[in-house]
Subunit: 542 residues, 2 copies
């Protein structure tokens, strides 16, 4: 039997039209290079979005075409998000931090037709444009008076382009499964891989992430995303904030500037923000030095990397701000889990409480999560058994753009993360599947060992890698950088782990190094280390 319900598609257009109609006077505040304090309202934003839709048509673009952006978080980028997707085109957000060869690859692979770029990326694209044969032209996201001299071919000024078009536009009816946006992952190996979101996945992700135990977005919230809109879909806040009618504040390119973030928080009365741990450390450092306060801020979401307890404590103890861990990736739209910390069950000892808040949280409704062993068998949620994390849901990718291959197991996407899940359904990431050490059939978390190592007062940085071992298949090797002026023996270092981890987790050896290799994005490059220590001879055999 069929229902009598209306058959209407879930589209980004419906988010835009809802915000335009129900919250027309809510504000969007942006920091841009040409205006450090730009403010307008949803109704203005979506009026300009309609002008932009006419402009896209005038450039010869049509449904299904891919339009790329290389821009920081501001109102013009928001207008592009909506105008491109709601026109039935695909908004491809490019990460400007990638290597030039990667950018060239993804622009060509995605078949981008036009590029909308911030003025500060003009030199980068000038150098690159000859290697981008499909690109028909460039639009620089600025006004005529700030328009740089440029050798870019077929170049337009964004504000002039908009000014030449009317704000009347009839948005096309769209299939909810149509592509709306795309984002490339930057893995450590091979070419970046493209994830293509749909209108449906975007609406469902916006619902899931706005729920009370996730971002919990209310109309009176003031949300400042410090997550770039070109990175993991900007945590989807460009969609969820208008859906909830909240005020949106976008800090432009100066995201790690503690002084500017503090000023924005106080000026705009930010209640909620989202970013990576390094952003929060920069903000906390500035607050400690300046003595300034951030009274309006109630909660910050953190993701992208494990957040140290010190950040949780500094926010809570000094500023009464709750820090909430989220977890996800480009392939998961991105938010898969969230750790809401105002939970009544937190009637725990301080240590147990600290363990809970450091976790990446519970799955959102909209995804299913499981952990599996090497044979793909599901493992219990007992707070101790680690397994490979698999996920599925309506906003999880099952493949990559124009790439052949099987990226799921029985319909579950393999995240590459290793985690345990506690009795409370909170996930704790313990490693990456490619880094975890499999010793005698049991798994050893390199991240946990590294965390203990860097807590040693003499240690500046540490890495643990698995190295082959005749008896145990693989055993942990600890690599440490000692702080300047300090000195410690290998035995002393290894003894540090006693009582902190199970005895069979303790590394078999410790090597002292001047520095550790890092990836372009600043993460430990264990791939390089594993190559370097491939023939490592364990001390017991030496």
């Amino acid at each position: 039997m069929q229902s009598t319900m209306m058959n209407l598609p879930l589209t980004i257009t419906s988010i835009m039209e809802f915000a335009d109609k129900v919250y027309p006077n809510q504000e969007i505040v942006s920091v841009t290079l040409d205006n450090p304090n730009h403010r307008y309202r949803y109704k203005d934003a979506f009026k300009r979005t309609r002008q932009l839709a006419n402009a896209l048509e005038s450039l010869g673009l049509k449904q299904g075409d891919v339009v790329a952006t290389m821009a920081w978080n501001d109102y013009r980028h928001l207008e592009l998000y909506y105008a491109i997707s709601c026109s039935g085109m695909v908004c491809h957000t490019i990460n400007p931090r990638l290597f030039d060869e990667q950018i060239e690859y993804i622009v060509n692979h995605a078949e981008d037709q036009w590029l909308f770029i911030d003025p500060l990326f003009v030199p980068k694209l000038e150098a690159m444009q000859d290697k981008l044969p499909n690109i028909k032209g460039f639009v620089v996201l600025t006004s005529e008076q700030h328009m740089p001299e440029t050798s870019l071919r077929n170049v337009h000024c964004y504000e002039s382009l908009l000014a030449s078009h009317y704000a009347l536009f009839t948005w096309p009816a769209l299939d909810e499964n149509m592509a709306s946006a795309m984002c490339y992952t930057s893995g450590t190996t091979g070419n970046p891989k493209g994830v293509v979101y749909s209108h449906r996945s975007t609406v469902l992700h916006s619902y899931a992430t706005s729920m009370p135990d996730a971002f919990g977005l209310k109309r009176q919230d003031v949300m400042m995303p410090i997550v770039p809109m070109f990175h993991v879909n900007g945590w989807g806040v460009v969609y969820s904030v208008p859906m909830c009618g909240a005020k949106l504040v976008m800090p432009g390119p100066r995201m790690a500037d503690g002084a500017m973030l503090t000023a924005l928080i106080n000026q705009e009365k930010i209640t909620l923000s989202a970013g990576v741990p390094t952003i929060w450390q920069a903000l906390l450092d500035y607050l400690e030095t300046s003595g300034e306060t951030i009274d309006s801020l109630k909660r910050v979401a953190v993701g992208g990397a494990a957040c140290p307890l010190s950040i949780f404590k500094a926010f809570k103890d000094n500023h009464n701000v709750d820090v909430e861990h989220g977890w996800g990736m480009t392939e998961t739209s991105p938010l898969g889990t969230y750790n809401n910390t105002e939970d009544a069950d937190f009637d725990l000892s301080e240590e147990a409480y600290n363990q809970k808040i450091l976790r990446q949280g519970r799955p959102l409704f909209g995804v299913e999560l499981r952990i599996v062993d090497d044979e793909g068998k599901e493992l219990p949620w007992d707070g101790k058994t680690p397994g490979a994390v698999q996920i599925k849901g309506s906003y999880i990718t099952e493949s990559y753009f124009k790439l052949e291959g099987e990226f799921t197991q029985d319909g579950w996407f393999e995240t590459g993360d290793v985690a345990f899940i506690d009795e409370d359904s909170r996930m704790q990431i313990t490693d990456r599947t490619k880094d975890i050490i499999k010793s005698g059939g049991e798994w050893i978390s390199t991240i946990e060992l590294e965390n203990h190592a860097v807590n040693h007062p003499d240690i500046a940085e540490a890495a643990v890698i698995g190295v082959s071992h005749d008896k145990w298949t693989e055993r942990p090797l600890l690599l440490v950088v000692v702080k300047p002026g300090k000195s410690i023996s290998s035995d002393e270092m290894l003894a540090w782990f006693k009582g902190k981890v199970a005895s069979w987790w303790i590394p078999n050896a410790c090597e002292f190094v001047e520095e550790l290799p890092h990836t372009a994005t600043g993460k430990l490059d264990k791939k390089v280390m594993k190559v370097r220590y491939k023939g490592y001879v364990w001390p017991e055999f030496a």
Copy 2:
């Protein structure tokens, strides 16, 4: 271009499996006739749901079949909701308050095959069973020891039926647009009309109603729905509460018992509840008499009828509880608008604040709302212009089960309500389209006139109806019931409106009556009044 996202259906099964996996230990507490304090956990509920699914199969039921319930809010009714819908069958909840002829009509019209009923409805169904030829049998929702003697044909005891089946069951894959449940509206004219919900509409409604500015359901909430599960889909809380992992408390048949509700609130630490104004009045009356408190309760949602300001004030001033107005109907799943009252814009005078909180609120994301004039032209949201309320969305009906006809205008469902919407996007229902008085091309709200009339200290009840008028097409006639021992003249009564409404709104005449006609559900029956006063001669012409 198609997205790379997984193509997974939105199903009620996914809500059940999510709650079972992520919140297995969360509690469900019920009051039933055979156990005033039944408690178990989600994992127990869904284990029994799987037993029930096997039982349904054993009764010969298959996908697409309609299974009916006549039951109050408790855990067994919840099990039926999930087992029936997730088996691909249709859960038809019957309102036992309907007239017997209406119940017979809808059981036959819906083609119900089995009826699951509370023991207290056994006599009703015994008297009715011969007129229900399609019904293959009955299941009484109780245990063997409480099973009544009955002449019902092919009758089973629910607990015995469950006990004879395993808890292993593989839920079928379902199309998200399949019918999941149905509910009949009880209009004042003609036969009840059936609305058929889908899995998709149910999931989307659950998302929309759980959002922070609607029910705002969090895992640590304890929700007690006092809205019958057979009425307007029980506000969907049987789905939204498990989706959010909150604790669910169901008061069984004793919904208007202030003492029992108070005991439940305090015993189970209810934080949030939902019901009609009469329920809240009963609770407040009991609290005032007994002097008891309800400290855990933070918010109550109210709907079904306009809620008097006195209820808002008594809850807030005496118990620090926020009352939040919602609006909807069977055809809208039901929640279309919600009035969140912790809004930062409420920096208003007391009178302006009171006006705001009495409104039915803003549209939820997931529906579109508009008000139109007689020609279907959209009207502005200016806080004063009334229009007919139309709605559309993925959880709004576009037709009725097995009924021919056009129930939408350009794809918009006509709600039959008249409202204005303020600059803040909050809707204020002012009348029903069939009751509104159209005088000289302008609209006069009978509800507003009635509210003013009953505020007169001598008036017990009042109704306003439109009666034809040669010059103005229609003019308001006031009908009043005077309080015992009181007396007032027609001129005095009409003078009461001066300064309270525009002068052209003041009724042209007032008639004193002993009593006013009411419908079966206790509402003013204006249809009867309009017939009675059809040939009314206005005093000016008399």
